[in-house]
Point group: C2
């Protein structure tokens, strides 16, 4: 059996499992999640063994230290995964909720019911905890999932998926609700992307190369984010203490994350009041600054001249681009032109400016006087996230249980016919 | 300038116009709509002249009578279009609505704001009224739109788009909010489908060939429906009078529409009580019946044996497939296997069956004791529809103003940073 056929059969099994799962009560799904969490903790030793095989192979292949670090499981990390699963148990089940049920002029009663999407295809790299997050979120939202992790984590992922399937089996749910693609052949990814009859939505998580490949090959909708080029705009009506606090936090609280600030925009009227202080703060933290002409003139040799490429750059590290602009309109223009529609913040005390910024900036998250780092499933109260979307439709921003569901119209009549 | 460049420039203009439109108040958009409606009525004579050019060309090309009929404008039809636009004025503006604004544990205040999608690409055939419906719905929902109508209606569509742009101009909105592709070259469609940087969503309306081409070429999300293979399932717990009324209405109230019933499913326990009556009803209306073996055995020569293809068929005419099944589970299996996830109805007085059917049938509209013909934007109170979606995500079923918008997260802080 070739890979296309293998994946196709997994798809068929997922479709069948999804139908069974879609009608299960919340309590059954919750019991499966608790059994999964227990299985993770019970199998800590064997998970560590499998993980050490991946780590050994990774070292032989010369994986970077940072990659190995992300790949590593410890008893603490396994306990955290189990705890994460238990938190998902506590979240309300969105499936089956009917909203807006109302009589129409014809006498029919019309509402919308929230339902699972069906079968999710998850393609990801590196961090093995994605296996557990994805399985738990898909299960709770009533979806079957086909997981395709990176080859560097194959043994860890397989062992984690076994714990998940153990949990499903214990409560009598079909194990095919969660399936792991066995082969590490890249062809398996192409096979997944060309089976819209079995996989309703693809969620890729990983490097830009992976995401771009998925976008170009997928024959079904993709929920994804490509870049996180996030901005903080400091308005001339800003409280400069808040501005300083937010800029530092947005850039330096963590570097390698998609919701970190990459470009700081400053109104020209306050540039000389705030930038020298901020430059000193950033220097202390070891952040390299790249500025527009005006910024360079103001800050001197502590800043490198920025090129056009810097405005597009997602550094994911201790580098920051800075631009001084004439006014808020110029800042919004900059964000629309160079941004990635992920998360953008204005710092201002002016209500009119805040209102306009919120309405006019077309990003998944738009903020007033808050750090871009808040754009996160946990901070947003979603409980957990399967990813962050910068797409325009369906789910934007952190994607939790609701983003893994959709709505259908439901109609109640009593023999009603159309006139 | 080649076609790719032309469409690309239209895209750039649309993007700019969309940004201007997105910040306009509802009253400005409503005044533009009223001006559009007036322009349509004022220009009735010249619209008729342009339409007669299309009709003449169509006759020369040997277009079918039904096509010519759909293409024809009359003063009454123009008045209806204007009236449709005025009805859209009366609909509430979804743009800017913030829902769920609530404090999070960190102290930030989080909500979701409904916003326009941006730029819609509309590719359609035949009926010129789609030009007006699409323009009016996109305008009200704050989106720019690039229209590409069929070559058979090019003069009518251009004249209609001129009325729209006249309305925009009168209130000072950018005319590029609504643009019509001038060339009838098929290459223009390909150009539209490969410009995701300018066109956020494509909505195709027309024959299956058009829709399939759009799906395979589009590099952006598509809102579409391919088929309307709608079912009515008559349960053994059905009130047979209601069942008869609903089956007749769903099949015969109009034939060429996507929400008409194409297959009737009947529980074996009531087949001999309802089918002979229904067969006589359908015979009287001139509907050809194609049945499964049991149906043929029951109804004799008044029914033609159905083949496997009949269960997949969207007849869009006076033909109906009939299948007798063991129980509701078999009916749901049939719908999931052969249906198009458009609209499906159960006729039953049994609450448990109704509950299960509603939950388990995975279609855009699922109904109890009501005709499939209700699946329609007007009947659903959306005021108007730009199309019907059988996609799984974003918008399912009739797509009105809400389906032309999306949501973004908005966050209010007061200098909040992430710990």
């Amino acid at each position: 059996m070739n890979i296309q056929e293998q994946i196709s059969q997994m798809g068929e099994r997922a479709r069948r499992a999804a139908r069974v799962l879609s009608r299960e009560d919340t309590s059954v799904k919750n019991r499966a999640l608790l059994a999964m969490a227990d299985a993770l903790e019970r199998n800590t030793d064997s998970l560590m063994v499998e993980n050490s095989r991946d780590l050994e192979a990774g070292r032989k292949q010369g994986l970077a230290e940072a990659m190995l670090e992300r790949l590593t499981l410890t008893p603490e990390r396994i306990a955290q995964m189990a705890e994460g699963v238990r938190q998902i148990v506590a979240l309300p089940d969105p499936v089956g909720t009917i909203t807006g049920l109302a009589y129409q002029p014809s006498g029919i009663q019309l509402g919308k019911m929230r339902v699972p999407i069906g079968v999710i295809g998850m393609i990801y790299e590196s961090r093995p905890n994605v296996t557990i997050d994805a399985a738990a979120l898909c299960l709770k939202s009533g979806n079957a999932v086909i997981l395709r992790g990176g080859s560097e984590a194959q043994n860890s992922n397989r062992a984690l998926a076994d714990c998940v399937r153990e949990g499903l089996k214990q409560v009598g749910l079909p194990e095919d609700v969660v399936q792991m693609v066995a082969t590490t052949d890249r062809e398996a990814v192409s096979a997944m992307l060309t089976l819209p009859q079995y996989i309703d939505v693809i969620i890729p998580r990983g490097g830009k190369g992976l995401i771009e490949r998925v976008i170009s090959e997928a024959r079904m909708p993709v929920i994804k984010h490509l870049d996180g080029v996030c901005h903080v705009y400091i308005d001339d009506k800003a409280d400069l203490d808040k501005a300083r606090r937010i800029a530092i936090n947005a850039k330096t609280q963590r570097y390698g994350v998609c919701n970190a600030m990459e470009t700081l925009l400053v109104h020209q009227a306050v540039a000389d009041k705030i930038l020298p202080t901020l430059a000193a703060d950033f220097a202390e933290k070891g952040v390299e600054l790249r500025g527009c002409e005006q910024t360079c003139a103001l800050l001197g040799k502590s800043v490198i001249p920025a090129t056009e490429d810097d405005w597009y750059a997602e550094y994911l590290g201790p580098v920051l681009a800075i631009r001084i602009l004439a006014d808020m309109d110029a800042a919004i223009d900059h964000i629309e032109r160079y941004g990635s529609h992920h998360t953008d913040t204005i710092v201002t005390e002016d209500l009119g400016r805040a209102r306009r910024f919120l309405r006019e900036v077309d990003s998944a998250s738009v903020m007033v006087n808050a750090s871009t780092r808040f754009a996160d499933g946990f901070e947003y109260g979603l409980g957990a996230e399967i990813g962050i979307s910068t797409d325009k439709i369906h789910a934007r921003g952190p994607v939790g249980l609701e983003g893994l569901t959709t709505e259908k119209f439901v109609v109640f009549g009593d023999g009603h016919i159309r006139q």
